[in-house]
Symmetry: C4
Subunit: 211 residues, 4 copies
Amino acid sequence: MIEERHEGSDEKETGRIEAFSDGVFAVAITLLIFNVQVPILDNPYTSEHLVRLLVLRWPSYLAFFISFATILIMWISHHNMFKLIYKSDMLFLLANGFLLLLVTFVPFPTQLIAIYLTTPVAGVACAIYAGLFTIINLAYNLLWWRAVSRHRLLKAHVPPALIRTRSRNYLLGVPCYLLALLFAFWNPAVSMGICSILWLFWAITNFEPRA
Amino acid sequence: MIEERHEGSDEKETGRIEAFSDGVFAVAITLLIFNVQVPILDNPYTSEHLVRLLVLRWPSYLAFFISFATILIMWISHHNMFKLIYKSDMLFLLANGFLLLLVTFVPFPTQLIAIYLTTPVAGVACAIYAGLFTIINLAYNLLWWRAVSRHRLLKAHVPPALIRTRSRNYLLGVPCYLLALLFAFWNPAVSMGICSILWLFWAITNFEPRA
Amino acid sequence: MIEERHEGSDEKETGRIEAFSDGVFAVAITLLIFNVQVPILDNPYTSEHLVRLLVLRWPSYLAFFISFATILIMWISHHNMFKLIYKSDMLFLLANGFLLLLVTFVPFPTQLIAIYLTTPVAGVACAIYAGLFTIINLAYNLLWWRAVSRHRLLKAHVPPALIRTRSRNYLLGVPCYLLALLFAFWNPAVSMGICSILWLFWAITNFEPRA
Amino acid sequence: MIEERHEGSDEKETGRIEAFSDGVFAVAITLLIFNVQVPILDNPYTSEHLVRLLVLRWPSYLAFFISFATILIMWISHHNMFKLIYKSDMLFLLANGFLLLLVTFVPFPTQLIAIYLTTPVAGVACAIYAGLFTIINLAYNLLWWRAVSRHRLLKAHVPPALIRTRSRNYLLGVPCYLLALLFAFWNPAVSMGICSILWLFWAITNFEPRA
């Protein structure tokens, strides 16, 4: 039982959910660096050798960058969603927990990309990477749907046009990442390219100019 | 000495305890991903081989999921408890510290499960896993008992019926996890099954419909 | 330049220092679990073997417990200090930064203890462990001294008797940990025993009964 | 779309950016300890051997110290900047995200220094280390420029003299770290020396005495 009766404030409750979610986002985004490993040189130590090994690790830098940018945008998107919401309920909390579970899971496929992008098994790595982001997009839609259906958890004066725009943007993510998932089996480079560009798309849809 | 006299606000003090506890919960839940290791392929690299190795790691995904869900529910439960509390004292702080110690310890038995669930020593791993959650439930009861006995740390208007419901729910956790602990030695799969289901039980008892 | 002139609030500034410090304390305390490693069994897998290896790791559990309890008490002590402070200056911020640096360093000697407590080199490990806590105590005294000398950063109505009690308690920590440091070379077990008990001492001095 | 219309508060929005940034700074600074590895002794275990191995790791302690001090100062600098800002826009948020990406990347060159400072490839390690801090300084200038150009995101009453002082200090960082970058190829020790001293420079410019 969420005893708002003793608190008199639903707002406070979503404040705590946001603070906890922010903590998870912040830790998850910072842990990504562990997927970028320092190469260990054999003797003799030469600068050329170290530079070459560092350059060969480009998939881990790329994976770090895409995952970082995507989690950052997801955090911004999460906040933009919560700004319209004034209370929570059980299903909303569970949907948010499911979303956080997926966010903390991001380092795993990120490391798969870091290790296997330049190998013959790149397709599997890219498919899992794009597949996770597809599921994350489904989770965002689930969370948003729970909040807006019957105007259940929304603040009073959210305009219907805004809800429609948001719903469309959240829905758009699913086919985009599904496309990246399909391309993974045919051409991993294209799949990674789609993932690299998609976070820019979310950045733009999340930051429309103010009216 | 907690100098509330200079602050005029006990509420603020529990606010800080909650913020610190939230930080520990958020970090602990995000670190669980380190128990899910990316498999390292030998040559030749084939997609079938990678997929097979990834599938063989199912115990680490299962352990990640159960531990994540359980820590998430424990965090929600922690917050629901603190919503009824307006001040702290030494024993309450130490009990909360003991609880946090146990929460940060969760990755250890989670990794035991990840590594040993499909081996002949699964019983030991499951027993330690269920045993830790049993002790965590005892710690919740200790924390709650310190707060409610003689209405010591509670807010003024918490209804007795709510206290009774909560006390019963906290107490229920102990025999449930003890059951999982006992089953560990007889059938590890059943033990893990109980642990998988119990967090759902806490989810339901923590989110009763509002009156 | 800390532009309080544009903020109108020194209180807010120490609030941010506390929030950042809390984050560092919370992450540092949660990372300690990485010093508790799951043993890797050789074939054949037997429960007896796993249990024996788990028991043999007792130094890592002990080190985890002492470090956790000590960081927890240091966090409480940090908060109790900041409750009396209403503004900061450059030296205070640097002293606080030095303290945080030492806190984030705790996992290093904790792992030394975990690995070497039962070996002939336990003395070195214990000396570094107790030595770090000695320096941490010096850092607390430095931070406190900066705040109280000439009543520089304190709130207006902090009673002199409270300042004297606190100053004495902070000073007491230094010889206690120095003792643990000296014992390290003679008898590591006694050294660890002192470290195990000292956090209880801080717990008691930090939570005097309210008048 | 950042719906301030529904919130009535731009201040709150930068509050969330700061809280998230603080989380990333706090986690990144605490993760640096993972670059300080405990040496593993071969038999026979002698105290002299352990001490010698510990002393040989001085590059990792140095790298830990410099990175910690630099991130700490960057956090202080970040806060001092945000104290003058009352709203954000898309480019400002992306610039801040780029800065956080660079901050979370710090552990990577820190480990390069820890491993390779005393080897013939120290130049490469130092160049990457100083190079990252050069880019971080450029990111600070970008962030600051976005906020101050046309007084876009600043609070109303920030005096022009303060803006000029800050702009000059931020600009100064770039040539200083470029110098460290150039020295890396000629004399790594000098390069590290510059990096060791520069954070002190930022400490002083960030904490001018109050008028």
